[in-house]
C-alpha cells in the first residue's frame, strides 16, 4: 500500500450532529408513529407518589436501579415460563428460554449486589395479561420484554456518568439484543423480524428514555415505580 492518507478536515461534533439529527428526524418521522403506539397507550406521569412508590433514585445509581428493575421483571418472567412451560415446548425452545432465564437472573443479581444498600426492593410482577400455557402469548411477551430492554439500555447509555457503568450497560445490552433476535426468530424463523420493526430506516435500533420505558412496563409491575429523579 503506497498511498499515504491525508487526514481530512475534522468537522466539529456539533456540525456532525446537526447533519445527523436533521436526517434522523426527517427520515424517522414515519417510523415514530409506528413505534409509539404501545408506549403512548400508557403515557401518564405518576406525579403523585404515595408512600409505597418505588423511587429509583438519582444519578448513576438511579440508572442502575432502573436497570435492576427491568432485569427483575425479565428474570421473574422467564422463571415463571420455565416453571410452567407452555404446551409442546420444543427442546430448542427449552434450551433458549432456560439460558435466557439464567442470563436475566445473573443480570438481576449483578445489579442488586453492585447497588448494595442503594438497591430498590424486590418488585412484585403482574403477569396477569400473559397466558403462560400459550406459546404465542409467552413468546409475544418475551419479545416485548427483550425489545423494551434493548431500547431502555440504548436510551440510558448517554445518562450514565461513570465510564465503568457505561461499559457494563454495553456488555448487557448486546446480550439482550441477542435474546431479542432469538425470540423473534422462534416466532417467525428466518424472516425479517430478528432485526425488524425496532430498527428505523437508518439502521438504528430504538433508544427510549426512562420515562417512556417505565410507562410501558408499569402494567407488568404491582408496585408503582417512579423515575422522576433520574437524570434526563
Amino acid at each position: 500500500m503506497k498511498k499515504t492518507l491525508t487526514q481530512p478536515s475534522e468537522p466539529s461534533d456539533s456540525a456532525m450532529l446537526a447533519r445527523v439529527d436533521r436526517r434522523y428526524f426527517l427520515r424517522s418521522a414515519g417510523v415514530a408513529a409506528a413505534t409509539g403506539a404501545f408506549i403512548l397507550g400508557a403515557c401518564t406521569e405518576q406525579d403523585l407518589m404515595s408512600d409505597d412508590t418505588v423511587d429509583l433514585g438519582e444519578g448513576d445509581f438511579g440508572i442502575l436501579n432502573y436497570a435492576y428493575a427491568l432485569e427483575q421483571l425479565e428474570a421473574a418472567f422467564y422463571t415463571q415460563v420455565m416453571m410452567t412451560p407452555y404446551l409442546n415446548m420444543t427442546d430448542m425452545e427449552k434450551w433458549i428460554l432456560t439460558d435466557i432465564r439464567d442470563h436475566e437472573i445473573v443480570h438481576r443479581e449483578f445489579f442488586k449486589t453492585a447497588l448494595g444498600s442503594k438497591a430498590i426492593k424486590g418488585l412484585t410482577p403482574n403477569f396477569s395479561a400473559i397466558d403462560f400455557a400459550d406459546r404465542k402469548s409467552v413468546l409475544g411477551a418475551a419479545k416485548l420484554f427483550e425489545d423494551t430492554g434493548v431500547a431502555a439500555y440504548n436510551g440510558a447509555g448517554k445518562l450514565i456518568k461513570d465510564v465503568n457503568y457505561l461499559l457494563v450497560a454495553g456488555k448487557i445490552v448486546s446480550v439482550e439484543a441477542r435474546h431479542a433476535s432469538a425470540i423473534a426468530d422462534l416466532i417467525n424463523p428466518n424472516a425479517l423480524e430478528f432485526a425488524g420493526g425496532q430498527i428505523n430506516n437508518m439502521g438504528l435500533e430504538n433508544a427510549f428514555s426512562p420515562s417512556v420505558i417505565l410507562s410501558g412496563v408499569q402494567p407488568f409491575v404491582m408496585d408503582k415505580i417512579s423515575g422522576k429523579n433520574l437524570p434526563r
Binding site: 500500500m1 498511498k3 499515504t4 492518507l5 487526514q7 481530512p8 478536515s9 475534522e10 468537522p11 461534533d13 456540525a15 456532525m16 450532529l17 447533519r19 445527523v20 439529527d21 436526517r23 430448542m92 433458549i96 439460558d99 439464567d102 442470563h103 445473573v106 443480570h107 443479581e109 449483578f110 449486589t113 439500555y153 440504548n154 436510551g155 447509555g157 448517554k158 465510564v163 457505561l166 461499559l167 457494563v168 454495553g170 456488555k171 448487557i172 445490552v173 448486546s174 446480550v175 439482550e176 439484543a177 441477542r178 435474546h179 433476535s181 432469538a182 426468530d185 428466518n190 425479517l192 430478528f194 432485526a195 430498527i199 437508518m202 439502521g203 438504528l204 435500533e205 430504538n206 433508544a207
Partner: protein
C-alpha cells in the same frame, strides 16, 4: 491517532505478517471445519504492530471513521454474497438481505455524519490473505466469516462507547447500531449451530469459544466475569447457574487495536 496510518504500518513494517497469518489461520480453519478444535491464537503479529503505531485516545471523528471502515467491510461482504446465484440457501436469503440492508444504512449514516471527513471504501480481500480460500464457494466458510464479522462489530462498538461519553448524542447513535449488530450476530450464530447440529453454538457467546479465536479473546476475553470490579460468577443469588451461563450473560469489548488486528487482513488497499 490515525487508524489508516496504523493499517499502513501493518503492511509496511511487517510485510510478511499477512503470509504468516494466512498460513496459521488456514490450518486452524481447516481443523475447525473438519473436526472440532482450534487452539492457536490468530493475529498476534498484527496486534504487535498495531500496538506500536497506536497513539492517544481517538477523537469522535476517528471513532466514526473506524466504525465506517467496519461497516464498509460488512456491507461489501454481504453485497457480494447476496448477488451470487445459488450460494446462500433459499431459506436464508431474507436473513442476509436484511443484514445487508442494515449495513448499507449504517454506511450511509456514518458517511452522512462525517461529511467530508469520511474515509473512502477500501478494497477488501475476503479470503483473508488466502486463509479462507473458499469464502465464496463454501457457504459454511461464508457464514463462519459472517459470524466473526458480526461478533467483532459488537465488540468494536462496545469498546468505543467510553470514548464517546463526552459526545452523548453520538454515543446514543453508536449504541443504536451496536444492538443491531448483536441481533445479526445472534441469528447468524444460531444458523451455524443449526447447520452443524451443534447445540453449543448459541446466539450468545459461551466462555471465549468461537472462530477465529482472536474475535473472542483479547485483553478482556469473552470469558471474563468481572464487571466494574464485581465478579458475576461469585454472586450469592445466582444459585446453581453455571459459569458458562455467567459468561454468556455479558458481552465483552475489544480495543480499537484488537479490532484493527482482526480486520487488517480483510483490507487489501485503503480507499481514496
Amino acid at each position: 491517532m490515525n487508524i489508516f496510518r496504523i493499517l499502513d504500518s501493518i503492511q509496511q513494517v511487517d510485510g510478511d505478517a499477512a503470509g504468516r497469518l494466512a498460513h496459521t489461520t488456514r490450518r486452524m480453519f481447516m481443523n475447525r471445519i473438519g473436526s472440532s478444535l482450534a487452539t492457536v491464537a490468530v493475529p498476534t503479529a498484527f496486534a504487535a504492530v498495531v500496538n506500536k503505531a497506536y497513539g492517544a485516545t481517538p477523537s469522535v471523528t476517528e471513532v466514526l471513521n473506524f466504525a465506517l471502515t467496519l461497516e464498509y467491510l460488512e456491507e461489501t461482504f454481504y453485497f457480494q454474497a447476496n448477488r451470487m446465484t445459488n450460494f446462500i440457501p433459499a431459506e436464508y436469503t431474507l436473513v442476509f438481505s436484511q443484514i445487508e440492508r442494515h449495513e448499507t444504512q449504517h454506511v450511509d449514516f456514518l458517511k452522512g455524519a462525517l461529511g467530508s471527513a469520511a474515509v473512502d471504501r477500501p478494497q477488501f480481500d475476503f479470503t483473508y490473505g488466502g486463509a479462507f480460500p473458499d469464502a465464496w464457494t463454501n457457504f459454511m466458510t461464508f457464514i463462519t466469516i459472517s459470524a466473526a464479522l458480526e461478533d467483532t462489530g459488537v465488540r468494536a462498538y462496545k469498546g468505543q462507547a467510553g470514548n464517546l461519553i463526552t459526545a452523548p448524542a453520538i454515543l446514543e447513535y453508536a449504541l443504536q447500531v451496536h444492538s443491531v449488530e448483536a441481533r445479526h450476530a445472534s441469528l447468524v450464530r444460531r444458523i451455524i449451530g443449526h447447520l452443524k447440529k451443534d447445540p453449543m453454538m448459541k446466539g450468545w457467546i459461551t466462555q471465549d469459544q468461537g472462530f477465529p479465536p482472536a474475535v473472542y479473546k483479547g485483553a478482556t476475553p469473552e470469558s471474563n466475569t468481572v464487571h466494574a470490579g464485581l465478579d458475576a460468577a461469585t454472586l450469592s443469588g445466582i444459585g446453581s447457574i453455571t459459569r458458562d451461563n455467567v459468561t454468556e450473560a455479558f458481552d465483552e469489548p475489544l480495543t480499537m487495536e484488537e479490532v484493527l488486528a482482526i480486520a487488517g487482513p480483510f483490507i487489501k488497499k485503503m480507499g481514496m
